[in-house]
């Protein structure tokens, strides 16, 4: 592949946020762009009284999704299949309200799992989605929680895990950071600060400090034009005080953290790249969410290439093994680059998942790397979206005040 944007590309930056579904964050965009597979007014679940619970644009920044909606393997299985455990079952996406009801036994509260944001409440995410490329079919890698899904972004597999278990070192496939480092390329995971640290603990254990930096270092590296070839950014996972006593808000958007703080975090990353003209010209920024967090999405996750691992029934909690042959729930994903055509909507015929991240970085920086998981080898890559012959000068900017 050779386009001017691809030829100029030097840096890939990935920001992985937490626990929001595509419909919840971007589904409202269908009203203004029919190509976006979002909410059209027909989507609903049935609550435990038998009443229809429609998807509604009533999502709030905070205080609505407490308790944290279930997103562990059995809970997600219920959300997708609505309790059907028969062979040949069909994914209906009709179990979200039922699943959320089981946590608080409050019918009215359970219906809030269907709520989504009107675009004006998410000016950063929706602007980037409409100005650059939005993916109609980017799914979590596993119908389960955070850590196994994030593992796919780092390794192209979760090594058979479907939960939050400790990941053991010396696994059979190298992380994307190790692969790049071995090839004399540069790669870094930027966690927010030491009080938030990283969820990629095995690499933290093995490769401190060469693979890690803080968010402030990311900003500094952008300013100095010293960004590594590949960067993975983690948001702040908790409300805590900074070293000088200032209040630092969680920016991961995990319920029940304030969603706007995550918007500001996304904008800060975009601005940092955008402010350095040389960096802006040579960087592709992927913004993606690790999993849906138990929140409604209407697109059934498709089957996928089996990963070669099996999670046993005691690990899945469903009484059945899982062959890693089906993706998790759909999540928001946006690719930002001045070489992406405004209003690009990646069609429903192209399916992406988190293994697409190391697959893309490997393809671009290393071209070939044989020893990868079956899922990563089969994963779609996304740099063909840098289609423009001339770099755009109309990209938006965000005023963070």
């Amino acid at each position: 592949m050779s386009t001017p944007g691809f030829d100029k590309l030097k840096h890939i930056v990935v920001l992985m946020m937490e626990n929001r579904s595509f419909d919840h964050m971007l589904g409202a965009l269908k009203a203004t762009d029919a190509r976006i597979d979002g909410i059209d007014g027909t989507q609903s679940n049935v609550d435990t009284t038998g009443a229809k619970a429609p998807a509604q644009p009533l999502a709030q920044y905070q205080g609505q999704l407490d308790p944290d909606p279930d997103h562990h393997f059995p809970g997600v299985d219920l959300q997708i299949f609505n309790g059907d455990t028969t062979p040949g079952r069909v994914a209906t996406m009709q179990g979200f309200v039922k699943s959320y009801f089981s946590q608080r036994k409050d019918v009215n509260h359970s219906r809030k799992i269907m709520y989504y944001f009107p675009p004006e409440k998410l000016p950063v995410l929706t602007t980037l989605a409409t100005e650059f490329a939005v993916f109609n079919r980017w799914f979590a890698s596993i119908p389960g929680p955070t850590l196994c899904n994030r593992a796919f972004a780092h390794y192209g597999t979760s090594f058979g895990h479907v939960g939050m278990e400790v990941f053991y070192p010396n696994t059979q496939f190298k992380s994307i950071y190790q692969r790049l480092d071995d090839a004399k390329k540069t790669a870094k995971i930027y966690y927010f600060d030491v009080k938030s640290s990283s969820l990629e603990v095995v690499n933290l254990l093995q490769h401190q400090p060469q693979f890690f930096g803080t968010f402030q270092q990311f900003l500094d590296d952008c300013g100095k034009g010293q960004l590594p070839d590949y960067s993975f950014i983690e948001p702040n996972y908790s409300d805590h005080e900074s070293e000088d006593g200032a209040a630092i808000l969680a920016s991961d958007q995990h319920p029940d953290h304030h969603v706007r703080e995550g918007e500001r975090f996304i904008a800060a990353i975009y601005n940092a790249i955008r402010q350095n003209a040389a960096l802006w010209e040579s960087t592709a920024l992927l913004i993606v969410y690790d999993e849906h967090g138990g929140i409604y999405d209407h697109v059934p996750p498709p089957a996928c290439t089996p990963d070669g691992f099996v999670a046993q029934p005691d690990a899945t909690g469903t009484g059945k093994p899982f062959m890693f042959d089906r993706l998790g729930v759909r999540v928001p994903a946006i690719l930002v680059s001045p070489w992406v055509a405004r209003g690009t909507v990646v069609g429903t015929d192209r399916v992406f998942e988190h293994a697409s991240i190391p697959a893309t970085a490997t393809k671009f920086f290393l071209q070939e790397f044989a020893d990868r998981s079956p899922r990563e080898k089969a994963a779609e890559t996304f740099l063909d979206l840098l289609t423009l012959n001339t770099m755009r000068t109309d990209a938006p900017e965000f005023d963070l005040g």
Binding site: S197, D239, L249
Partner: protein, 136 residues
């Protein structure tokens, strides 16, 4: 703030309001993600032989602030282990697997805390950590 370094004639400026201060709640109960992160970090600072499931139990963090403080301390320990010269025994973990977050003071730190009974817990923890850290 405008991005003056980029020249463009069709640049939209989108204002993103500040998050309300009322959103800040460090006393919010630490969720599954933070508890898992703590567990993983506690696991990572152990010597390999102490990472067996049987030996591995930690106390859960009550609040996000507590989780953040413990995560910072564990991150610091991991960093010290990773950057220690080869052959140097890494510092012992700050807490036993099932102990409270605040490390037990060493003899020296205890003496300090007796003479200053109103010392803040964070200061005591720093003193204890400092006493345990190998001198270079």
């Amino acid at each position: 703030m405008r991005l003056n370094s980029i020249s463009a004639d069709l640049m939209a400026v989108i204002r993103v309001p500040k998050t309300p201060k009322s959103a800040y709640n460090p006393d919010r109960p630490a969720g599954t993600l933070l508890q898992s992160q703590l567990k993983h970090l506690e696991w990572a600072v152990r010597p390999a032989g102490a990472r067996t499931a049987k030996a591995f139990r930690i106390r859960q963090a009550v609040s996000e602030a507590e989780a953040a403080a413990r995560i910072a301390r564990l991150n610091e320990e991991l960093h010290a282990q990773a950057t220690a010269p080869k052959g140097v025994v890494p510092p012992a973990p700050a807490t036993p697997l099932s102990a409270p977050a605040t490390p037990k003071p060493t003899a020296k730190a205890k003496a300090t805390s007796r003479s200053k009974p109103k010392a803040r817990p964070a200061a005591k923890a720093r003193a204890a950590r400092s006493a345990r850290r190998p001198r270079r």
